[in-house]
Symmetry: C2
Subunit: 236 residues, 2 copies
DNA sequence: GCCTCGCATACTGTAGACAACAAACGAATT
DNA sequence: AATTCGTTTGTTGTCTACAGTATGCGAGGC
């Protein structure tokens, strides 16, 4: 039963989740994976139909998702997938840079061999997927990498906050651009190296630069998209 | 209607909140104010009776509070007010120090005169209440001070995160000790002065020291309480 | 006295019903 | 043509009911 001699595997009752939790997981996953787009309308009855449950578990899931900022609920008017206004992107980048940076510092301080081993394994998987051109799996591996890194920081609250922040900004940091993807994984490698070296300042600096670099690249993409839209409007 | 020529006052429909939101506000407030203690059992039917509503709005409120970490819900076993395990207190202090520090830096950078005016007013009220020995209102004024300070940082996401963190740690930073209270308000004054001076580094440093100082004082209180309990056990 | 079992009670999770509210649409009026 | 009004449709918010689950308690057996 026990995997690592310390943490028992989940017991049956813990595995058998309530419907509202299952619905929560599904909707959250759909948002993070981009299946549900920012701003998209979430109709309780339709979701209930889709998942084969009554509306109550859906409502409960939406309350939790709303509290986490993933869903915007307007009383009596319905729910939408949360949309980060372009002016607010900078805030998200800034907060994530601050927290990831601090987490990398902590990881370099603790240097937990078991956790770092698994970070290394995920990095290797990410680099392999990159080389093989398996772009589709990179988003998942990116999330795995950052999640494992958050564990390496050994501060549960920080890890929780980072998780929530990653969920809210998942689409922001999921570039389609292969060049940016390659750079991301290079940066992942650099952060991990600094952590393995126990160099707190370097780890913090690289983590911050990574988030800011990825975030700024995304902002640039948005601005280019705006410029192209403006050009198209002039032609029409 | 408009208060500051920019933000319209709430319209009727926005004021008339749904029951589940009202219940959420009530329970949240009871937790933050200490009327509901950490670890305390939250029974849906009883809360529903107390608030004069059916169980669903209570369940929905509990989902939101659970997502924010203020309430712990065990599937099929019920809900409790969240209890920060003593070993986790250090994490809370650390995260709050990091965020409050960064916020003070931003506030010193922006130096928004309107917001800082209101921070000053709250500081004056806090100091007056302290001099008059009105300890009961200091908790509320402390929350007001930190909330206004979060606004001065001009980063909505950071403000939101700070709000959530303050709610989770409200009882930690609500000392009964008049000496510690006086010191807290001295430190508030020092932070605000650095902000008014536009000194980012000093503001950040003072905010961090304030949180760590208040937090460590609380930890010391816990350790003393533990020591006294042990002594009582020996006498019995 | 301790342990086990069965029953009663309390509580949670979900479904379904109904009322209230919001949005859309078509007809009537200006 | 634009605006207003009334009706219809779609959706949300809350209540009630019922089944499932967890806990507590007392009786019986060892």
């Amino acid at each position: 039963m026990a995997k690592d001699g310390k943490t028992p595997a989940k017991r049956l009752g813990e595995q058998h989740n309530s419907l509202h939790n299952l619905v929560y997981d599904e909707i959250r996953s759909a948002i993070v994976n981009g299946r549900l787009k920012p701003g998209e309308r979430l109709i309780e009855e339709r979701l209930a139909e889709e998942y084969g449950v009554s509306r109550n578990p859906v409502r409960e899931a939406l309350r939790a998702l709303s509290a986490e900022g993933l869903v915007d609920v307007s009383s009596r008017r319905g729910a939408h997938v949360a949309h980060v206004a372009p002016e607010k992107l900078q805030e998200v980048i800034e907060m994530r840079a601050l927290l990831e940076s601090h987490n990398a510092r902590l990881a370099a301080r603790h240097k937990n061999p078991v956790v770092l081993k698994s970070v290394e394994a995920i990095l290797a998987k990410g680099q392999a997927a990159l080389s093989a051109g398996r772009m589709r799996s990179l988003r998942d591996l990116n999330e795995q990498f950052h999640k494992a890194l958050a564990q390496a920081g050994n501060n549960e609250l920080l890890s929780e906050m980072l998780g929530a922040l990653r969920a809210r900004s998942a689409l922001l940091f999921a570039p389609d651009n292969p060049k940016r993807q390659a750079l991301n994984w290079d940066e992942h490698a650099g952060i991990l190296q600094a952590i393995l070296d126990g160099d707190e300042d370097m780890a913090a600096k690289r983590a911050m630069a990574h988030v800011i670099g990825a975030g700024e690249a995304h902002l640039k993409t948005l601005r280019q998209a705006d410029t192209q839209t403006a050009s198209s409007d002039q032609l029409a």
